[in-house]
Structure formats: structure tokens, C-alpha cells
């Protein structure tokens, strides 16, 4: 813990820059999918599914289904892109491309590399969330002011999900093993964290589980900002995300040091 703190430095920025350079070089490939994704979701749910449901009750007030759904989709984009960047993408860099090995033969320490990767994952999450937000704003589902307030939350949540991803990257033996956290963690969160329906519609014991999911924190905070119903519990949820981000960052560095430098 002490050495981790000692070895973390601003040089993480260099790792972020490396990833950003690669991102810029292939920007067309990187831009189009996250931009299309929200459109597909909104089309499917807005015109398809949304026609079955007229209104949803949120905090005692009726809102259209699309307005209810929009912040949930922003949140799940943040989760997916943050988590995928530090699992599949980081694993490829670490294991197949030996990028970490190369970076470690410079003044950077493993702590810098991992922190840089997590911050990069959070950046990808922020970008994906932003694309979703822009579409939702243009669609008239979210106000531009609310969207602006969501950006720092999106980055923070990105750190939390990227940190979680990096913990798995530090322990899996091969890339197929990421199927476990995806099916056991990411998919259940996507389905049960009130992205698509209020948690109250679930059976009681499932509600408790759902309430504890990191994605639930994020959806709840984002939805509160959209609806203008931001209260104290939401601050606690933000602190929760912050705690996950910090703990997962440290834990992943610790696990990674054990894996690579034993």
C-alpha cells in the first residue's frame, strides 16, 4: 500500500497519451459504434417497446418511458465501455502486445501503467456516455444543463467500472475467462439496475441485491439529475461510486504487481 502510493505519479498521463494517440489514429472505427449504439437503443425502445408502455411513475410523477429510459442508457454505456476497455482491450495490450513490458522499461512503474489504463478506460466511458447524452439531448429527452452536470459523474463512474475491470484483468488466465464477470456481473447489472424499469417492480429480495449494484447508483444519480429530483441519498451514491473507484484502483494495482512482478 505504501509503495503503491509512493510509485503512483503524474507519469500515468503518458500511458493515457499513448492510448489516446492510438485512438486518434483509428478515430473512424472508434467513433461510429458508440454513436450508432444510442440511436439503435432509442429506436428499438422508443418506437418498438415504448409504444407498449405509455408512462412510468418516478417519484410519484408520471414520465414518458423514453425519458425514464434515457439516463439508464447513458449509465449502461458508461459501464460497458469502462469495463470493456480495461478487460478485453487492456488484456490484449498486456498479454498479446506486451505493451506493459515495453512501458516498464522506461521510468514508468507498474503503478503508473495501471492507473493510466484505468483513467483511459474512464475516458472511453465518458466519451461513450457523452455520445449517448448528445443524442438524448437532440431527441429532447435530457436538457443540455443536466447533461453537462452528468459529465463529471460519468467520468467518476467510468473510473469505478474501469477499476473493476482491471481487477479481473489482473486475475484471469486467458481472455475467454472474461465471460464470467460479463455474464455474472455486467449483464445482471444491465438488466436489474433500473435501466429499463423501476427497482420497485422487482420481488423484494431482488430489490435488495439490485440496490447494492454499482450501476444502480449511477442510474439513480443520473435520473435524479434529469428529473431535477436530486436529494441526499444521491450524494451517498456518488460517494459509493468514488469508494468503488478508489478501492478497485488500489486492488487492481496490488493484484497486478503480484501477477507480473512476483
Amino acid at each position: 500500500m505504501k509503495t503503491i502510493l509512493k510509485n503512483i505519479s503524474w507519469r500515468s498521463w503518458r500511458v493515457w497519451q499513448r492510448n489516446f494517440d492510438v485512438y486518434k489514429a483509428t478515430w473512424k472505427v472508434n467513433f461510429i459504434p458508440p454513436l450508432l449504439e444510442p440511436l439503435l437503443y432509442l429506436l428499438a425502445f422508443g418506437f418498438g417497446f415504448g409504444n407498449l408502455i405509455q408512462n412510468v411513475t418516478y417519484e410519484g410523477q408520471a414520465v414518458t418511458y423514453l425519458k425514464f429510459l434515457a439516463p439508464g442508457l447513458v449509465a449502461s454505456a458508461i459501464m460497458n465501455h469502462g469495463f470493456f476497455e480495461t478487460t478485453y482491450a487492456s488484456f490484449v495490450r498486456m498479454y498479446f502486445q506486451k505493451t506493459y513490458d515495453a512501458i516498464l522499461s522506461t521510468p514508468l512503474m507498474l503503478e503508473d501503467v495501471i492507473l493510466g489504463e484505468i483513467i483511459w478506460g474512464a475516458t472511453k466511458a465518458l466519451l461513450a456516455g457523452s455520445f449517448m447524452l448528445v443524442i438524448a439531448c437532440l431527441w429532447g429527452l435530457i436538457s443540455w444543463t443536466a447533461a453537462l452536470m452528468m459529465l463529471p459523474i460519468a467520468f467518476l463512474a467510468g473510473m469505478a467500472f474501469s477499476g473493476m475491470g482491471m481487477c479481473f484483468t489482473a486475475v484471469v488466465k486467458n481472455i475467454e475467462m472474461f465471460n464470467f464477470p460479463v455474464f455474472l456481473l455486467i449483464t445482471p447489472m444491465f438488466l436489474f439496475s433500473s435501466v429499463f424499469f423501476p427497482i420497485e417492480s422487482l420481488p423484494r429480495w431482488t430489490q435488495y441485491v439490485a440496490q447494492a449494484m454499482p450501476l444502480t447508483f449511477l442510474v439513480s444519480v443520473l435520473r435524479a439529475l434529469v428529473m431535477g429530483h436530486f436529494y441526499q441519498p444521491h450524494i451517498i451514491q456518488i460517494v459509493g461510486l468514488l469508494a468503488i473507484a478508489v478501492i478497485c484502483t488500489f486492488l487492481s494495482i496490488f493484484l497486478m504487481k503480484k501477477k507480473l512482478l512476483k
Binding site: D21, K98, D101, A102, L104, T106, M109
Partner: protein, 311 residues
């Protein structure tokens, strides 16, 4: 740790250096010193512990025992200081496949805080030096094995290292590429860069190294200058007899000659062979006998044995 005299002159100093992976003692109590502006070689069969030693010098792995100082600093205490000032060419290619040749250098320079115009100048200079300038826009995939190696060497020189560490820099390369790399390393050596390298090619070690050690099973078997080692362990010449007959062995024993035998050949060392050569070639047939200069390879095989190493 400043007890050593002339510590300024010692680029690397290792004492009782060890590394264990679980039950495997990969490096076992080795001592060596690399002097400034020299070329130091690590020879040894696969699994001898060369790469592990190099990874400790590059601050990748912490020694499990012993002292290791690089540029006068302890590797456990000052990894950043050391890594900032040395260049490392790893055994495995770890060029960045997501970046072009020139961007590989620029991005790598940035890790050393060499940015902007300086990074471009330095990259260009090194691309010229390693004969890769015409390939600067190419992707890594488009490079041949020899070009990749040269790019890795170029990359390791970006920070103008005081010490250049190369792990098997020419393994798997064609003779042209190998000679090209030797030429560049010789040039760097003449300019005053201290070099440490591991190799399987005895010719490479004999050509480049001022001092070398032969490692086997984690231990240093022998240390010295290449020429002196040959003279000391083999003599100036060696005789090979292609034969599996017992009478050869009986003859050699009768004359008190030092020899080794494998299923097809006898290898005979020692100063006495020059005078016995006419008799030997007469007796066992000119066609089957060879007298040749002793090389470092003979020393290597004598000291590490002729059996195949699996690991």
C-alpha cells in the same frame, strides 16, 4: 553501499545475487561487475538464468537475495532513477503494433519526457543510424525480423543510455542482419556506451565482449576475457575425430590426452595435440580427422556439457 572503491567505474555490481520462482532457483548466488565503457557478455544454455538476471538489472523483478547495484544505485530503492538512464532490448519483441515505426519511437521517447521537436529529432537521428528511415511510415507488421530488432535497438537508445542491456539481440536473424547489428553495437561501444548482452552465438560474444561469464543452472561457471578463456580451457587448437570406435579412446587415454566423446565424435584438447596431430591423422584416417582453431564454443560445450537442454 559506497564501500566499493572506484564505484564510479562500476556500472553494475552484483554480489550473491539470487532469484527464486517458488522452488526453481533461476539465479543462484552470482557475483559480477561490469566496468564502465566495456562490453560484458552472459552466455549459457536455455534456462541458465540469463533473462532473469537481465530482468533484475532492468528493475522488472526484485532480487530475492543479494545485492544488485546499477549505476551506483540499489535496484530495490531506485528503480526509476535506473530505468531513466539505461536502455533495454528485451528477448521478445514488444514493439507497439498499434503505432507506426516513427510513432513507436515518439511515443516511447515521451515516456522519458522527451517530447516535441526534440523527440522528432532524436527519432529521426536513430532511424538513420539503424538504417530504418525509409520505413518510418511503415506499420510494425510490415517489418522483417531484422528490422524489428533494429527498431527495438533504436528505441532503447532514445534516452542516450549510459548502459545498454540486450537480451539475445540477434537470435533468429539471418547472417546479414546479424552482422549489421554487430556493426552498430561495435559503433556504440566505440562511442563509449557500456553494453551488457546475452547470446547463444559464441562468435558474437568473442567479437563484441571484453569480458564474459558462462552461466549454467543459475550459477556462473566461469568468467574471463574470451581469448584467455579459450587459451585456459582448450588451448589454441582442437582435434575432432569422427569415430565411435573404442580403440580411439584407448589410444587417447594411453597418451594421457584430455578429450570428450559423443556418439559420433571425439574432441581432443590440450597443448600436446599439435605434436601428436600427424600421428593421429595417419592412424585414424585423414578423412576423419580435423585440426582446427579452438573457439569459445568449445569452451562453452566443455563447461556446460553437450547434452541437450530442454527448458
Amino acid at each position: 553501499m559506497g564501500i566499493m572503491k572506484n564505484s564510479e567505474e562500476n556500472i553494475i555490481h552484483a554480489k550473491g545475487l539470487s532469484k527464486a520462482f517458488g522452488d526453481v532457483q533461476a539465479v543462484d548466488q552470482i557475483d559480477f561487475t561490469v566496468k564502465k565503457q566495456s562490453c560484458f557478455g552472459f552466455l549459457g544454455p536455455n534456462g541458465a538464468g540469463k533473462t532473469t538476471t537481465i530482468r533484475m538489472i532492468s528493475c522488472f523483478l526484485e532480487p530475492s537475495d543479494g545485492v544488485l547495484e546499477v549505476l551506483g544505485k540499489n535496484v530495490k530503492e531506485s528503480p526509476r532513477y535506473i530505468k531513466e538512464r539505461i536502455g533495454i532490448c528485451p528477448q521478445e519483441d514488444n514493439l507497439d503494433p498499434d503505432l507506426t515505426v516513427e510513432n513507436n519511437l515518439r511515443v516511447f521517447a515521451r515516456y522519458f519526457d522527451i517530447v516535441g521537436k526534440e523527440a522528432n529529432l532524436r527519432s529521426e537521428e536513430l532511424l538513420h543510424f539503424m538504417g530504418l528511415f525509409s520505413k518510418r511510415k511503415a506499420t510494425i507488421e510490415e517489418l522483417s525480423g531484422g528490422m524489428k530488432r533494429r527498431l527495438i535497438i533504436a528505441r532503447s537508445l532514445l534516452n542516450r543510455p549510459k548502459l545498454l542491456v540486450l537480451d539475445e539481440p540477434t537470435t533468429g536473424l539471418d547472417p546479414q542482419s546479424r552482422h549489421q547489428i554487430w556493426e552498430k553495437l561495435q559503433q556504440l561501444k566505440n562511442e563509449g556506451t557500456t553494453i551488457l548482452l546475452t547470446t547463444h552465438y559464441m562468435e558474437e560474444a568473442a567479437r563484441l565482449c571484453d569480458q564474459l561469464v558462462i552461466m549454467d543452472q543459475g550459477k556462473i561457471v566461469v568468467e574471463g576475457e574470451p581469448k584467455a578463456l579459450i587459451e585456459q580451457h582448450i588451448g589454441s587448437s582442437i582435434v575432432e575425430i569422427e569415430s565411435d570406435q573404442e580403440d580411439v579412446e584407448i589410444y587417447l587415454k594411453a597418451h594421457g590426452l584430455e578429450f570428450e566423446r559423443n556418439p559420433t565424435h571425439f574432441f581432443i584438447y590440450g597443448r600436446a595435440i599439435m605434436s601428436l596431430w600427424p600421428e593421429i591423422s595417419q592412424k585414424f584416417g585423414e578423412k576423419f580427422c580435423v585440426l582446427r582453431m579452438a573457439t569459445l564454443e568449445d569452451v562453452f560445450l566443455k563447461l556446460t556439457g553437450r547434452a541437450l537442454r530442454e527448458s
